[in-house]
């Protein structure tokens, strides 16, 4: 498949998913434009690490600012728009509920409104989240009702419905991808997956003694970010706009994740991890697993990295990074 003639605009290109998506689309022959709030102030470390910094057309845009969004859409005139921007940390959303709401909901609606205002025929992908579901009694599919449990989740749920509403009301090709946890070495250290990997590496290097973590009994569905961004691309190449759950379908406890990471560094986590109740969230999702059947059936997409391979990748990349430093 080739993307020749396709021009993508990625809001939030400096984050993990933005960087992986930019790389994927370049590999598919797309012209790729990406924006961040202040192009000149950020280092685009993720794009550098993937070696594509000079291949992405970079722009400044604040999704919370209508003029900024409209001007960028007009200048780039994309065929596909991916909104991966916004505050993306669940725990930070309890500290910054209003900024979270602004960046996620106002940001998404500004992009939708700007596309409408400009009569843009571009296809629109919005990053929804498994956090919309809250606890999942059984693996959540596209029709499963939402019950978000954080300011992040409530904001993502509102943005999800905005996308659905613009699709219904104005006939826009607009879709939400409901992605379950997806990790890689491009995640910043404040995310629990990288906190664990870097914490274990520090202990293995003798630079730290212990790692402080919150609840270990929570269950998540973890996948490998580089293949999740391919689901985004497939959604916009599909023949009709629809929402999809993207997940591995497998459930693991955080303890299981910690155990494998520590083992990867030749350590036993039980000697090294301290549970710190100050790191508990005000309300925590106990069980979060997705059902990716629809994506497999209609998009031909399936996660190939299960937890073993994911952890293996994360450990190996961290070891490589430390050797390079």
């Amino acid at each position: 498949m080739t993307g020749s003639g396709k021009r993508a605009l990625i809001f939030g290109v400096s984050g993990q998913d933005g960087a992986w998506l930019a790389k994927l689309l370049l590999d598919h022959g797309y012209e790729v434009h990406g924006s961040s709030r202040d192009r000149d102030a950020v280092s685009f470390g993720n794009l550098q690490r993937l070696g594509i910094l000079d291949q992405v057309h970079l722009h400044s845009a604040a999704p919370v600012d209508f003029r900024s969004v409209a001007a960028l859409l007009e200048a780039v005139n994309p065929t596909e728009v991916y909104n991966l921007s916004a505050q993306s940390s669940v725990s930070l959303s309890f500290e910054q509920p209003l900024e979270t709401l602004n960046s996620i909901v106002i940001g998404t609606v500004n992009i939708l409104e700007a596309m409408r205002f400009l009569n843009s025929g571009a296809r629109f992908y919005n990053a929804a989240s498994s956090e919309c579901f809250g606890d999942t009694a059984v693996p959540a599919a596209e029709g499963t009702p939402f019950h978000p449990k954080s300011p992040y989740g409530t904001s993502k749920a509102a943005a999800y419905w905005a996308v659905a509403n613009y699709r219904d009301a104005y006939g826009m090709f607009a879709c939400s991808g409901i992605l379950f946890n997806h990790e890689s070495h491009l995640r910043p250290a404040r995310y629990v997956s990288q906190k664990i990997v870097r914490g274990a590496a520090d202990i293995a290097d003798g630079r730290a003694r212990t790692l402080h973590l919150g609840r270990l009994d929570i269950v998540r569905d973890w996948g490998w970010a580089p293949e999740y961004v391919d689901a985004m691309r497939r959604m916009l190449s599909h023949d009709r706009p629809e929402d999809f759950v993207i997940a591995t379908g497998e459930a693991h406890t955080l303890e299981d994740f910690v155990d494998r990471v520590f083992a990867g560094f030749g350590l036993n986590w039980r000697d090294r991890v301290e549970v710190d109740s100050s790191l508990y969230r005000p309300s925590e999702i106990a069980f979060s697993v997705g059902n990716p059947d629809k994506a497999r059936r209609e998009l031909g997409w399936e996660a190939t990295h299960r937890l073993d391979r994911l952890v293996e990748e994360l450990v190996r990349r961290e070891q490589e990074r430390r050797r390079a430093d």
């Binding site: 961040s36 604040a62 919370v64 500290e95 910054q96």
Partner: protein, 349 residues
Amino acid sequence: MSKVALITGITGQDGAYLAELLLGKGYEVHGVKRRSSSFNTGRVEHLYQDPHESGVRFRMHYGDLTDATNLIRLVQEIQPTEIYNLAAQSHVQVSFETPEYTANSDALGTLRILEAIRILKMEKSVRFYQASTSELYGKVQEVPQSEKTPFYPRSPYAVAKLYAYWITVNYREAYGIHSSNGILFNHESPIRGETFVTRKITRAVAAIETGQQETLYLGNLDAKRDWGHARDYVEGMWRILQQPEPDDYVLATGETYAVREFVELAFAEVGKRIAWKGEGVDETGIDEATGKVLVRVDPAYFRPTEVDLLIGNPAKAREKLGWTHTTPFRELVREMVQADLEAFRRKAG
């Protein structure tokens, strides 16, 4: 009583210099930074201490000026005795592209902090410093500019900062908060943001000198500014909050240089003499020794509305605060060029 400072905008140039100054004076310092997918704490990395250790005097918090309740909680938890509001969308050019966001963070953000002080009933226990700017003078109404010169802002950035200035004055008068403005003229350093013209020039000089760049593109070569060293200016901020009465002060050198003079001095640091040829957008700066064109004008860098002659009158700060700039212009340029040369040489390996 122990002093506890809360600094918004800790990741910026002024935040880093101010944190260092206050730590040196025995303060407990709390810095606030915005979420970002990119690494943005390079300027304060050397001050970082593991929060699990005891006796830590420097801490970082996530915060955002567009989130009122977040600010209230931070102020409540930290119980600062001094707040320095240095956070802002601080780039003039960017403010023309994101006027709404600039107003939200720069104007309303300041209001949100002052409101947090009120809601927490800390009017008498905390002092507030607002980073005001010489951009407020914009289309200057007199030369030089003092605390009494009328404002004429000429960018969405400056207009937002004008609201912040007056709301700081208003909350002082209405609620008795010890809130003060420092109207700072340009202040630079080796850790100035790379998009600011001074740093852009010194980086280009270093890149050209080490063979990694050919030409430096600039906007208005005749824009005149009053440039000081950031290290001197954060000392002025601190002194403003040590006064028994809150007030507003211009911090400036009182000297002015054109962008082209900065360029000439910066190239002189690497032994190059610049000769100017042509006019307007066709003007070029030529290396006298080799004849190579080192500087060109790119109209893309012209602002929609340009600010003309900014030169501050720091007499009140000198008299009341005993403050004056100590780093001469030439030394500032030298320090910046040398730091960038070192960095580019390291990079070239």
